[in-house]
């Protein structure tokens, strides 16, 4: 074997194994570590996935669970009064919309393939309906949920209080505890 072969021969197996690890790890790092770091630390960030067949959900809609129809429909998002709330809206099929009129958000277009974001401060206590504003699919009429704003509890409202989702296995802290990081 020549020099190239000797070098490649030693590196081939590690290169293959590294590929198998690095490729998914890079995606995981970007989604779980890098992306959350791009948002303000004082914000509660939620990603809402839209599907004309499944409704709105905090579960990531993937090619896998979409066909298994294994996503839980979103019923409620809970935050505390004074929280800065950022909603990341992602369509997994067609055009959708978002409206939360009590907070001055009347219509946000959620285009397929584009991230739409809503950023507001939950400055009033109560339960407020948000919904899809575009006739989008079979379950359009069910594409609604409540934003429940409770009196400030010192940041204790966490994902565990969302009735449609399991609590995180390990309690986390910080602004991401009720949002994006917990969904991953």
């Amino acid at each position: 074997m020549n020099t190239l072969d000797r070098i490649v021969s030693r590196l081939a197996l590690p290169a293959v194994l590294l590929t198998l690890i690095v490729v998914p790890a890079s995606a995981w790092w970007y989604e779980r570590v890098h992306l959350p770091s791009q948002y303000p630390k004082d914000a509660k960030v939620f990603t809402i996935w839209y599907s004309g067949d499944h409704g709105m959900t905090l579960n990531r809609i993937t090619a896998y669970n979409y066909w298994l129809k294994a996503v839980n429909r979103l019923e409620e998002i809970r935050v505390e009064k004074g929280d800065r709330v950022i909603l990341r809206l992602i369509s997994s099929d067609v055009y959708h919309g978002f409206a939360l009129p009590p907070f001055g958000i009347n219509e946000v277009l959620v285009k397929p393939g584009e991230l739409a974001e809503v950023d507001f401060v939950a400055d009033k206590v109560g339960s407020f309906l948000f919904y899809c504003t575009i006739l989008c699919g079979l379950v359009h009429q069910d594409m609604k949920a409540n934003l429940t704003v409770v009196e400030s509890q010192g940041g204790k409202i966490a994902r565990a209080e969302h009735p449609t989702h399991k609590p995180p296995s390990k309690p986390s802290s910080g602004p991401w505890s009720g949002g994006l990081a917990a969904q991953l």
């Binding site: 074997m1 020549n2 190239l4 072969d5 490649v8 021969s9 081939a12 197996l13 290169a15 293959v16 590929t19 198998l20 490729v23 998914p24 995606a27 970007y30 989604e31 992306l35 990603t47 599907s51 990531r60 809609i61 993937t62 090619a63 896998y64 979409y66 066909w67 990341r88 992602i90 997994s92 099929d93 397929p112 393939g113 584009e114 991230l115």
Partner: protein, 490 residues
């Protein structure tokens, strides 16, 4: 392989000449002109270095296909495999570089590495697994024909649903690995892989070929030939390597169909008598048997079927083909039966009819109809290839802008890696598509009739008789071109 039924016309691989210049007859010796390329092909690392980046990319596509957005246009798996990769494969890799994709294909790599118990090194001895010969009755490309046809029936699902793509691509990877542990060498690639089948057929058209430099050297070489049996480095061969994974003997190989360009023979030839040649387009014109003829029929019909289901305005057919979305099971069965009948019976029947008319025109009673039928099926190789390019072009021109979008957001999760995540869907001069398609089809027609003349001369040494024989086939190709034009411009 099927038994040859038509005499070879252009034996570009068998010209024995002792000239120093790289131009040999109709061939240009690329390895002689570019010795660095030859040296690289002779390294054991050659194939691995081509496979590794594709392994990373396709592995990523498997992940995005499972965990990414379920909608095809928001998932890199669909956009990159069925728009970018497919277009590059059918419009550039196969027509220009023969089966170079097979050289770098990552899907059978794991199986081959396991079989050899090595990634780079040459380890002589018994390979891992059962090391059985592929069953004799399946030593043809019928399984590839049926496999490709089966996939084609579900093509609307395949090219729009990331998970279906993952199942098929991953399935090919898993199946190839299993079969490589049962059968010798790359039996899966030669006899079963659905992508390999049409590549082999259309590689006949490509302007490069791997062949023996001088056939006489192979004939005179007594003893174990490296390309057939493998060779150890040093005394036997300069580099050492395995027997041809594609079961070819380079000394008699005169077509591209079953050469995967892995360059293993470059390492094992004791006589250093193999090289890569540039040649005119469409130099291999010999279809060897019914299996290859039917591959040409199936591919031609499917180019038209895809144009109808994926590009055309025929809503009912689209609904039938898109069965999981519409639930039209009865419609799908009608669609599937129609496509299968067209591929396996109707179109071959039309070809048989024209072959019969060709025989009548030639007035050659002594030449069996079978010979016309098989030999003239080659006309569908350049035409079919160009028809596929014509079909694939609008996929890229109309939907190519999605490439930029998914490059930034491969999972469809709202990422913006390189700032093009919000790039809008922007068709690229879609109004020019029918004109370009017409032009491509006409190029295919010209190549088809031109090579038809060579085929005819292979059947009949007399020019006049050859031309008489070709006239019905040329009319048939013109009618086919018009048919495609109607569907493309509909």
């Amino acid at each position: 392989m099927s038994k040859p039924v038509a005499a070879p016309v252009v034996e570009s691989g068998s010209e024995a000449r002792t000239v120093e210049a790289p131009v040999k007859g109709r061939r240009f010796d690329l390895f002689q002109k570019f010795p660095g390329l030859r040296a690289f092909a002779q390294t054991r690392s050659f194939q691995f270095l081509l496979i590794l980046p594709n392994l990373a990319v396709f592995y990523f596509f498997i992940i995005t296909g499972i965990f990414g957005n379920p909608m095809g246009n928001q998932n890199i798996t669909i956009i990159f495999i069925w728009i970018l990769w497919w277009f590059l494969l059918i419009a550039f890799l196969v027509p220009l570089t023969s089966r170079l994709w097979c050289t770098m294909c990552p899907l059978p790599a794991a199986g081959e590495w396991l079989q050899r118990q090595a990634i780079i090194e040459h380890k002589p001895g018994k390979p891992l697994g059962l090391d059985k010969w592929w069953p004799k009755q399946f030593k043809n490309i019928w399984l590839q024909n049926f496999g490709f046809l089966l996939l084609a029936l579900f093509s609307v699902l395949l090219v729009t649903r990331p998970l279906v793509t993952v199942i098929v691509v991953g399935g090919i990877g898993v199946l190839s690995t299993i079969l490589m542990l049962i059968y010798k060498r790359r039996a899966f690639c030669v006899y079963l892989c659905p992508v390999s089948g049409f590549q082999g057929l259309y590689a006949m058209f490509a302007p490069i070929e791997l062949r023996s430099t001088e056939k006489g050297v192979c004939d005179a070489h007594k003893g174990k030939k490296g390309c057939m049996f493998g060779a150890k480095p040093g005394e036997e061969a300069a580099y050492g390597g395995y027997a041809c994974p594609w079961f070819e003997y380079v000394g008699t190989m005169d077509r591209n169909n079953y050469c995967g360009l892995c360059m293993e023979c470059m390492k094992t030839c004791q006589k250093d008598n193999i090289s890569l040649f540039l040649r005119p387009f469409g130099s291999d014109i010999r279809i060897k048997g019914y299996d290859e003829a039917w591959k040409a029929f199936i591919m031609t019909v499917l180019a038209m079927v895809y144009s109808i289901t994926l590009l055309g305005p025929y809503g009912l057919v689209k609904d039938w083909a898109n069965v999981t979305w519409t639930g039209e099971v009865k419609g799908f069965l009608i669609y599937a039966a129609s496509v299968a009948s067209a591929c396996l019976l109707i179109f071959p029947g039309i070809h048989l009819l024209f072959s019969y008319v060709s025989k009548l025109f030639s007035r050659a009673r002594e030449v069996p109809l079978k010979k016309f039928f098989v030999a003239y099926s080659y006309l569908l190789v350049p035409f079919g290839l160009l028809a596929w390019i014509a079909f694939s072009l609008p996929l890229l021109m109309v939907n190519g802008s999605y490439i930029l979008q998914v490059l930034s957001d491969p999972f469809g999760w709202g990422w913006d890696l390189v700032g093009t995540g919000h790039f809008p869907w922007t068709p690229f001069y879609p109004e020019t598509v029918p004109y370009l398609q017409a032009l491509i089809l006409l190029v295919g027609l010209v190549f088809s009739i031109r090579s038809g003349y060579d085929v005819a001369r292979g059947l009949f040494p007399q020019r006049e008789q050859a031309i008489r024989s070709l006239i019905p086939m040329a009319a048939y190709m013109v009618a086919l071109t018009v048919g495609f034009l109607v569907f493309f411009t509909a």
